[in-house]
Subunit: 325 residues, 2 copies
């Protein structure tokens, strides 16, 4: 697998088409152009306003008002729409795809995407499902930036049934493309991908959305109080729960089994904690709270987060005592 930061100066795909120009699509356009690995980026978004912003911000070089027109002659087509419409998009573009083109997506679920897209993929087009594991809580054509993928992992889930040399080369090219955008690239079975993401992403988002909803519904604590005292922990959940509603609805509808499985385990564990609180079992609480620190340490060591204290303000404007030394 290609490692990030290998020197790459050549164009990998002459013409790239981005279908969907939100946070991920826009960031791909910026990252690929910065890396010099594409000659032309064509883009499609449903709304004219989004296309205009995308052109203005330089996310794309040309805009099209249909996905089919955008993918014409493209060597790489990246589907960046919410997962729920990927099947329809694939049906729309299937007649226009160039023979030999590489087709990929950026969806946060993979089994359902394979099921939805694969029936529409023409002979000779190489479909390689993908998922750049990166994001912020912002969405839309203003949200993308070229560094989004730097040091992040991108998971490709190549289709086991495809074993031709041409398919292998396509997978390698896509791998090199993502590495040039800053990612470390990994490969995985789609089913396993869905299980991993259920615990690292989908269930965390679900419980963040859930607790923000619970707080909003209380009659004993006012919304104004929740807002004022959010710095004590709640704030971090609201950040996650501000993510794009359509994208997340589609993720839960399309990764049902894995999410429900992980949720069952989460609930079992939470019941045990609840019981420990009710019966005053301080040791059980202390032991869990100590164990969870180790995972945090591993994440910082792996470069997936910084160890700066987060107290909810722009870190650029405050200096911590450690920095003063």
């Amino acid at each position: 697998m290609t490692k990030r930061n290998e020197k790459i100066s050549d164009v990998i795909f002459e013409r790239v088409a981005l279908i969907g120009l939100g946070l991920i699509g826009g960031s791909i356009g910026l990252a690929a152009k910065r890396a010099g690995i594409v000659s032309h980026v064509a883009g499609y978004a449903r709304s004219k306003e989004t296309r205009d912003v995308a052109l203005e911000r330089g996310l794309i070089d040309s805009a099209y008002d249909s996905a089919a027109a955008a993918v014409k002659d493209a060597d790489l087509v990246v589907l960046c729409t919410p997962v729920g419409v990927l099947g329809d998009v694939a049906a729309d573009i299937k007649e226009s795809l160039k023979p030999g083109a590489v087709l990929t997506d950026v969806g946060s679920v993979k089994m359902a995407v394979v099921d939805a897209v694969m029936p529409h993929v023409p002979e000779g087009v190489h479909f390689i499902p993908g998922h750049p594991v990166a994001g912020t809580e912002h969405s839309g054509p203003h949200a993308g930036f070229a560094e989004l993928f730097t040091d992040r992992w991108c998971i490709l889930t190549p289709l086991a049934a495809q074993s031709s040399d041409a398919y292998s080369k396509a997978v390698n090219d896509l791998d090199t493309f993502w590495a040039a955008c800053g990612s470390n690239v990994d490969r995985m079975d789609p089913k396993h991908h869905d299980l991993v993401l259920a615990i690292t992403s989908h269930v965390p988002h679900l419980i963040a959305y859930n607790i923000v909803g619970t707080a909003d519904d209380l009659e004993t604590v006012t919304k104004s109080e929740v807002v004022k005292y959010s710095a004590s922990g709640f704030r971090d959940f609201t950040r996650i729960a501000a993510s794009d509603p359509t994208m997340w609805r589609d993720i839960f509808l399309n990764n049902k089994d894995a999410v429900l499985e992980m949720l069952t385990r989460f609930n079992e564990d939470l019941s045990a904690l609840q019981r420990a609180i009710r019966w005053g079992d301080g040791d059980a609480l202390f032991n869990l709270f100590t164990r969870t620190r180790d995972i945090r340490r591993s994440i910082i060591e792996a470069g997936q987060d910084s160890d700066e204290p987060d107290f909810g303000r722009s870190h650029a404007h405050f200096v911590t005592p450690e920095d003063e030394n």
Copy 2:
């Protein structure tokens, strides 16, 4: 109530004693000295190493190896230990408190603190429970910094039974002290405080600890996978779940009723979401995910968080496209 940023140049309390020199205690020392509202800060921590670091970093001006010695002659005594030992600390210092002194604490629960501390408070000492709603996931004598309380709320829960003029003056002085440290100061009934914090802080921490534990226990997904793909949401939970274990054990043991009440509501809501996923009710999911965005917006408007995208790196080193304009 005093509003932050009023001009305050006078000394409010000549001699302050900090019992416990972790994140909060250390930050109080730095903030109070910076504001010029104290003449001398005495400090006590159980470990000599902590006291030495506190002196070296200038969190305190003098260190004592017993809490009783530290509080002698102090005009303001701030208890900054975990909630579970506050009763013992109050018993230790009761003979040494100066008549007329103001005694406060920084605990995240208030009913249990009143019950534990009040029996030890001598006649003529003014006990005013308090809670600065601020923090990071870091702890210990290295963690404190002077800006921790800036723009954050500090809740005082004065005792309803105390209505003397001297007590009212003590409450006003403490209010002014916190405002000079950067806080907005609010007053609340202790029981209501515990309910508000259960939803804004205690339950969020509990579910963060819980999901990190669930992830750690999985046999189908490796710990290394959890770490690698944490950028997709999980990472933010590990930050919260890295908070001080002793402090949090004590909070849950001492705010049992409010935490269990809020947890019950959280569980009911989560069951409804789980059901929506199982039955493919996309509208229910979409409606919740849209509603939760409003609370996020209110928190940003109230200055309790920044709207910068969080992608887990030092914000100082990256420029978002919006900043480039």
